[in-house]
């Protein structure tokens, strides 16, 4: 392994130096690309040098740089949803060139697309990656009228869900905890509100959402299967602007504007549900609500130094009769400094804090208790982009995280309580990562991106680690010794090299082949034995008894555009193999168990699939359709008698359509259709009697497939004509969820029926199907000023 590492570092250095040498007689043009209307930095805008038939794209901070020989150039700036801007420049010295792209006022005018226009779907080296257009999401049918990006993500190729009403998603055979969910670079440990009915992402503040399923850039690590990167708006730096919406279940408002015009701006947004108000009206003394707050400020010191501070707070609160209550939530804070060291070396320094916690409380004289748990993370990140030339770009950086896991504390909440204070051991970890990645255009057809991430994970003290007679014996637990560790003393460490490689080969101007390989390492493990994680699950770091999970994924893809790039088609096949996938023993006690380590069972998982996608981003009719064929299996020691079994989120076929159509400037129609094979569950297939109790048993885990799932949702967005010329602009979104009211199985369970006398008759059994939502209409009223 050390040899590979050295070769990599060396070759990286070599490219660095050679490119330095031959770029001496060139000049650099760089700058930020922004939205002309509100000054938001735009991500992924292609900057094309017509004369050289090459170009670059703005990075995630809206920054681009091109290093060119002196001369006259025509630059084309292009991004979906914006008018294309063409500029001619004479380059005789280093230049700063900030660009503002005007928004396409109406999609009614069909755009004339130039033949040579480049298209990221085909030409970009990235594959296995999807962008979620939040503007479209807002016009799609939404459950209870609450637009949710996670619901659209669940319809992308290679992504599946465990069923409706959950915010968990499963990417290419990975479980829900294998997704790294980031909001402004800060990790979110549980993205659910109301047990998953909605996600924590308020659609009003989202600027950009990207999902990486494969070919994952080296700047990301820490989870096996995907990266969901959500970036929030920076705030309009030209004009003050407000907006809001009233939905069936929740309301939201947003305010943004300049603090000093063109220099600094802010955005603040809030959302709150009001189910509890309905409950109160119905005479129920229960409290149930959730809220989200997003806030961000940014200021431009000068073109070389920009600062951002972002905050997210979200919480769900449940309280019953003032006797029993619980709540959970995420809180994140991000501070970022964008700095230009020189024309071509862009730096982003981030300080990130993230906290997820939950509490349960029972108010009772003798049995009252308070149970609390949390996970905290502090991260320092230094990411650098070095724009060597339009054909040559190097990204490198260093990340350091300190994690603090508090799996649970139980305290009595009265003197008479039976409970004594019990605290499960806290765990601490340090996670160091360095990475380097080099993108090189070898010729007009072939571009390669290669790099690696080196992860050094330390489980550190203070800790008291128990040694066991047999750590896999979870019934007769025998501790033999206890090892004590001081603060920051290493308990165990793991060093892993994660190679990343991608290549793109242009077959012709309209089609390309792409290939990628990535190794991902995951050192934070979710302690959950259910299919859908619940907010009361805890996390644990890799340590003495828990090894890092490692996934290798290879993907190949064919990308083709049709009809002047109006239609983007992709076909990808992947194979993913996971070592040390974390699972649990049969009948594991995962809640409040001091000897939890005896329940750990790590095994293998493998999955493969084929994904097809056809997408249309421009014009009156936009949307995508996707089809996925996939299979995921697991083999865990002692589980299912050591035999392989289907993962509980395995779905053989998965077909989706997501579309919006602008009927007129007044009406926009939207629709979702999804059809998937049912996921496997475990049902008892045998029974016996023991001490007068009826006991059921199974012969295979996940041996029963739920019925197929399909559902159609429809929506219509009304933007009244009287909006024109008014400061207050309003719109209505009407949605119908599950239009033909199919009873889709959430799950099936079996039970013993009663005889005529109301006594359970062991010889009469029945299976029952649980479904969540029949046809559900909803209305949302939106306003903007």
């Amino acid at each position: 392994m050390t040899t590979i590492k050295l070769v990599l570092i060396f070759s990286g250095l070599l490219f660095f130096l050679t490119s330095f040498a031959y770029s001496q007689m060139k000049h650099t043009i760089n700058g930020y690309v922004r939205d002309a209307e509100n000054g938001e930095e735009l991500i992924g805008v292609t900057v094309y040098v017509n004369e050289l038939k090459t170009g670059t794209a703005s990075n995630v901070y809206g920054f681009y740089a091109l290093n060119l020989a002196p001369g006259d150039y025509t630059l084309t700036y292009r991004s979906v949803g914006y008018l294309t801007v063409v500029k001619t420049i004479t380059l005789d010295k280093d230049q700063e060139f900030n660009i503002e792209l005007p928004i396409q006022i109406t999609q009614m005018e069909e755009i004339i697309i130039k033949e040579e226009a480049i298209d990221a779907n085909v030409t970009d080296i990235k594959m296995s990656r999807n962008e979620i257009n939040v503007k479209q999401v807002k016009r799609l049918p939404a459950l209870f009228g609450e637009p949710d990006i996670i619901k659209t993500i669940q319809m992308l190729p290679g992504v599946s869900s465990a069923g409706e009403g959950t915010s968990a998603f499963f990417v290419r055979g990975g479980s829900a905890d294998q997704n790294l969910i980031l909001i402004d670079e800060a990790p979110i440990y549980d993205p659910s509100h109301l047990f998953g009915l909605f996600s924590v992402f308020n659609a009003d503040v989202i600027k950009e959402t990207e999902l990486y399923k494969g070919g994952i850039p080296a700047r990301f690590g820490g989870r096996l299967s995907s990266i969901l990167e959500v970036r929030t708006k920076d705030g309009n730096n030209k004009d003050r602007e407000g907006g809001g919406g009233i939905g069936t279940l929740a309301s939201r408002f947003t305010l943004q504007g300049p603090i000093r015009k063109d220099k600094s701006s802010f955005i603040v947004s809030g959302r709150r549900s009001y189910v509890d108000l309905f409950l109160k009206a119905a005479g129920e003394e229960n409290t149930v609500y959730f809220y989200d707050v997003n806030a961000k400020v940014n200021w431009k010191h000068n073109n070389n130094n920009r600062f951002f501070a972002a905050l997210y707070l979200g919480r769900d609160v449940f309280d019953f009769d003032n006797t029993f209550g619980f709540d959970w939530g995420n809180a994140t804070a991000t501070f970022r400094w964008n700095h230009l060291f020189n024309d071509r070396l862009f730096s982003n320094t981030s300080l990130i804090a993230s906290n997820f916690d939950y509490k349960l409380e029972l108010d009772d004289d003798t049995q009252g208790f308070k149970w609390a748990s949390n996970i905290q993370q502090l991260t320092f990140k230094e990411d650098l982009n070095y724009f060597v030339s339009p054909t040559n770009e190097i990204n490198f950086g260093y990340h350091l995280s300190y994690q603090n896991f508090s799996p649970g504390t139980i305290e009595p909440n009265s003197d008479k309580s039976l409970f004594t204070t019990v605290e499960l051991q806290k765990e601490y970890a340090l996670d160091h990562n360095i990475y380097v990645e080099h993108q090189r255009k070898l010729n007009n057809k072939l571009t390669v991106l290669y790099g690696a991430r080196l992860s050094f994970f330390q489980s550190v003290g203070p800790a008291a680690v128990y040694l066991y007679e047999d750590v896999t014996d979870n019934i007769n637990i025998e501790r033999t010794d206890t090892l004590s560790f001081n603060r920051f003393e290493e308990v165990e460490s793991y060093l892993n090299l994660e190679p990343r490689f991608s290549a793109r080969y242009m077959l012709n101007p309209r089609s390309s082949l792409k290939l990628s390989f990535n190794r991902m390492v995951q050192n934070t493990h979710l302690i959950s034995s259910g299919t859908v994680p619940i907010p009361f699950n805890t996390w644990a770091p890799s340590s003495l008894y828990l090894e890092p999970q490692i996934a290798d994924q290879t993907a190949i893809g064919y990308f083709r555009n049709f009809d002047n790039n109006q239609y983007e088609f992709s076909m990808e096949a992947y194979y993913k193999d996971i070592d040390n996938v974390t699972d649990f023993a049969d009948n594991a006690e995962i809640f409040f168990n001091e000897d939890l380590v005896t329940e750990y069972r790590q095994g293998d998982s493998w999955s493969y699939g084929l994904e097809l996608m056809l997408q249309k981003n421009e014009g009156r009719f936009t949307g995508f359709t996707s089809y996925t064929w996939s299979k995921t299996e697991r083999k865990i020691p002692e589980v299912n008698l050591g035999q392989p079994f289907l993962a509980n989120y395995d779905r053989r076929h998965n077909f989706n359509i997501v579309a919006t159509y602008e009927l007129s400037d007044k009406w926009t129609l939207g629709g979702n259709f999804t059809y998937t094979t049912g996921r496997p569950i475990t049902l008892p297939n045998g029974k016996y009697e023991f001490e007068n109790y009826q006991v059921d048993f199974i012969t295979e885990r996940n041996g029963f497939k739920l019925p197929d799932y399909h559902r159609l949702d429809l929506s219509a967005t009304l933007t009244p004509r009287k909006n024109e010329g008014r400061k207050w602009k309003s719109s209505w979104v009407f949605s119908i969820y599950n239009a033909y009211s199919r009873k889709n199985a959430f799950t099936i369970y079996t039970r013993t029926l009663e005889n005529d006398e109301g006594v359970e008759d062991p010889n009469r059994k029945e299976a029952r199907l649980i479904y969540l939502f029949p046809i559900l209409p909803s209305v949302t009223y939106n306003i903007k000023f």
């Binding site: 299919t531 016996y688 007068n692 199974i698």
Partner: protein, 299 residues
């Protein structure tokens, strides 16, 4: 915790459930052994039967012609013989010179049937005596606990962690054995992590002798003339975990609980085939020491 989530879902949403026909792969027939014996001076029975496919509506088929022997570390042998009821293997302490009883004696169960040999080992553990049975008249506390006489038993777990018990209730002589009646204790508390040792059984355990109504939504208080008899059976720690799993499985009441339920898993077994490659077996062997006390509710 789960149930609260369900209230939320059920009150806020419109979810429903329907019966459905499912085709399940039929489980292979497996030998089932119910070997739960004790030191009471009454007939001790070990039952052998076959497991059935889930939707089979016939009675469980008994297994006849087996040799069932329990032997102890004190070199005693107890032969269980199939008598009148097929599949029931019986040993009668009244006709035997020696008996089951010495605390901390180890017992081995050996069963020979259909050319296979199955074995299991258990140990009889200490059991506390029941000092008294009490009835208290209580006003209506809530919907769940109406006005009436509530029974409780007074007994203390001996000092020393790791005693496990099964507490059985007999109301008017009838053993209460519905899934929600199953009460087990780890020391004086509900479970291992509780760290409640060497004290009187916690109140919820003492209260467990008040059975629920048929709909499981209300306690049925005792009336004048009713009798209550309580037994504490000592069980091994692994038998405790076995019953805990049995409890989780049999008390699974379906409905919306299933949404957050953990996957269905088999309850463990402590009887094994002497031949690793032989036929599988399901069942449990435990030898209990029993203490008991009763009282009739009079005016």
């Amino acid at each position: 915790m789960k149930r609260i989530a369900i209230i939320v879902l059920a009150s806020g949403l419109l979810g429903c459930e329907d019966p459905i026909d499912v085709t399940l792969e039929e489980a292979e027939p497996v030998l089932v052994v119910d070997a739960w014996i004790n030191n009471k001076p009454e007939l001790q029975i070990i039952k052998l039967s076959m497991a059935q496919p889930y939707f089979d509506s016939s009675l469980p088929p008994p297994v006849s012609g087996a040799t069932v022997v329990v032997s102890s570390s004190a070199n005693e042998t107890f032969i269980f013989e199939e008598r009148n009821t097929p599949g029931d293997y019986v040993w009668d302490p009244s006709t035997s010179a020696n008996g089951i009883g010495e605390i901390e004696t180890e017992y081995q169960l050996q069963i020979e049937v259909n050319d296979e040999i199955y074995v299991s080992i258990s140990q009889i553990n200490r059991v506390p005596t029941i000092d008294s049975i009490k009835f208290t008249f209580k006003e209506e506390l809530n919907q769940f606990q109406p006005e009436g006489y509530y029974g409780e038993f007074v007994s203390a777990d001996p000092r020393g962690e790791g005693d496990t018990y099964w507490i059985k209730t007999f109301k008017n002589g009838i053993y209460q054995n519905r899934p929600f009646d199953l009460t087990i204790a780890y020391d004086a508390g509900f479970s291992q992590g509780g760290l409640i040792d060497g004290v009187v059984f916690i109140q919820p355990l003492q209260d467990s002798v008040n059975p629920l109504n048929e709909d499981l939504d209300e306690i049925v208080p005792y009336e004048i003339g009713d009798s209550l008899y309580v037994e504490i059976h000592s069980i091994t720690n692994d038998a405790f975990f076995f019953l805990q799993e049995l409890q989780i499985q049999t008390q699974r009441d379906g409905g919306f609980d299933e949404i957050f339920a953990e996957p269905f898993e088999n309850v463990p077994s402590n009887i094994i085939n002497a031949d690793e490659n032989g036929e599988d077996i399901i069942g449990y062997f435990n030898v209990a020491a029993v203490s008991g006390s009763g009282r009739k509710l009079t005016e």
